[in-house]
């Protein structure tokens, strides 16, 4: 999604004149053209993310819309207090962009992964989290974020295209089925679509695109009531993640039927070994055989 992101930023440059772009010294082979387009409004803030985020808050206070880019953990967790105090307490339109949420940086290892970002970001006041599903969502997401006067966090990842997918929205109905409801966020959801057809055709699949969740579509509630089975999938720890969050919302909503609930989520590093993003997903039951087994079990 990084390439699409860079292109979307360039495309928007002429439409929104208040943009500035800050990077934490990253973007090799991706942001060069953004730099050329933005000129003096492209600021390499160096490997100094705390300073970068506070500066972005101050530039937003001065009327700019700052994009703040780095690898996901370095733009969310490293400067967390700067995000909380300087950006969110003041409800400033700073646009944090984290490349490689989840296991996105694969063999780079645990320091470059981010399995806590959604939890960490979604609890902050005024913060809105954007979770695109595919690269083709990005142009729409970038345009939406520029219209959003609140602080935002965008989680970028590798995502394959999904045929017939509607344009980006807080909720999208990805495919219909009557066996169980699947709710996912981000490209990991596509791993469900890659399972054998006799499984996927039983699944009512929904993609969540933004947090916080302000409402749940009635069609989704209807599917949950009808099937009595909900599977959530996320490339993130269970704590503070999508599954916990949606379970809490549905409990409060009191939909009146008992549910069989399965949260599929990252476990971390169960054997302390590292590999590609796909390898981590398989090990954690978010892809391939183990994912298939878990979904088959709940369908039975």
């Amino acid at each position: 999604m990084r390439v699409e992101f860079a292109q979307a930023i360039i495309d928007q440059y002429n439409f929104q004149s208040q943009q500035v772009f800050l990077t934490g010294d990253l973007g090799y082979m991706a942001l060069e053209q953004v730099g050329n387009t933005f000129g003096e409004r492209f600021i390499n803030a160096g490997v100094a993310e705390q300073n970068m985020v506070s500066m972005a808050a101050a530039m937003a206070y001065e009327g700019f819309i700052p994009w703040v880019y780095s690898i996901s953990p370095f733009v969310t967790l490293r400067p967390y207090e700067q995000i909380r105090n300087d950006v969110c307490l003041h409800n400033l339109p700073v646009k944090l962009v984290g490349n490689g949420g989840g296991y996105g940086y694969g063999i780079m290892g645990a320091t470059h992964h981010n399995l806590e970002d959604i939890a960490a970001m979604r609890v902050l006041p005024h913060m809105k989290v954007y979770l695109p599903l595919t690269g083709s969502d990005i142009a729409n997401v970038v345009a939406t974020m520029l219209q959003d006067p609140a602080p935002n966090y965008l989680r970028l990842n590798q995502g394959r295209d999904i045929e017939g997918l509607s344009s980006f929205a807080p909720w999208r109905h990805v495919r219909k089925g009557e066996g169980a409801v699947v709710i996912g966020a981000g490209p990991v959801l596509a791993n469900v679509l890659d399972l054998p057809q006799d499984i996927t055709e039983q699944l009512d699949i929904w993609a969540l695109g933004t947090l916080p969740v302000t409402e749940i579509p009635e069609a989704l509630i209807g599917a949950i009531v009808r099937t009595g089975k909900v599977i959530t999938i996320e490339e993130h720890y269970a704590a503070g993640g999508l599954g916990e969050y949606l379970a809490g919302i549905l409990l409060a909503r009191n939909i009146g039927v008992p549910l069989r609930w399965k949260s599929l989520h990252a476990q971390g590093y169960p054997n302390d070994r590292y590999g590609s993003q796909q390898w981590h997903q398989e090990l954690n039951g978010l892809r391939g055989q183990l994912l298939q087994q878990q979904i088959t079990t709940i369908l039975q």
Partner: protein
Amino acid sequence: MADDNIRYINLCTRALSIKKRFLLMYSRANAGHIGSSLSAAEILTFLFFEWMQDKDEFILSKGHAAAVLYSTLAEKEWLSEEDIDSFYQNDTFLAAHPPANKLPHIPFATGSLGHGLSLAAGIGMARRLKQSEDRVFCVTSDGELNEGSIWEAAMFIAHHQLRRVVWIIDKNNLQGFGSTQEVMNLDPLADKLRAFQFDCLEIDGHNFEAWREAMDYASTCTKPLAVIANTIKGRDWATYENKLDSHYLPFKELQYEETLQRLEHQHREQVAKYHN
């Protein structure tokens, strides 16, 4: 009497008024951080009544000295006496550290140390892009310089030659749980700042004539300016002047009245000096 002398008398009188107001605030609230505000009183007086222009921005990075900021804003008539009376009360905007989004001339909530200089850097950079010459003044403490983010900001400001940013360090040599010498030695601070490519001036932070020199020096600087204001924490609070206790303790018994008397006496002496 020379114009300069009138000016210094006025500044001393403003400083006295600002101090009296925040000492009353602390006394009524039975609150600490008195020493932190006494340390910075002349700094804020000079900035707000002599150095800063209308569109210049101010950031109190050492947010624990909020009372001196509130009192200075009241002296400018940007806060009302009613606002001031609400200090430390329930349902106030005037918390012990500056609040977010609520008070004029307080652009950012501060209190967690090490944020202010980066905020100043961001304002400085934004104003460069807007081709505005308006400046931003940031007061940090010295203990605050333990924070790594301060040095991130310092590197950025120097690298980008953000001369719209004026950094003032209230160097009273005391921090949270000891002296800066004991906890995390900063010295030689001026050498550090110069090595970071700042123009650096060390002055007596309680002396308005020294501040005037700093202001004049600023107009000649070729690099961003950092002023090391040598100050005394809890200055004129006889019991705890230059003691760590002045950071934490509220006034006891007659200490408030004694401090006021001392300030009034000192003010009379200052005025007499400039009359002669």
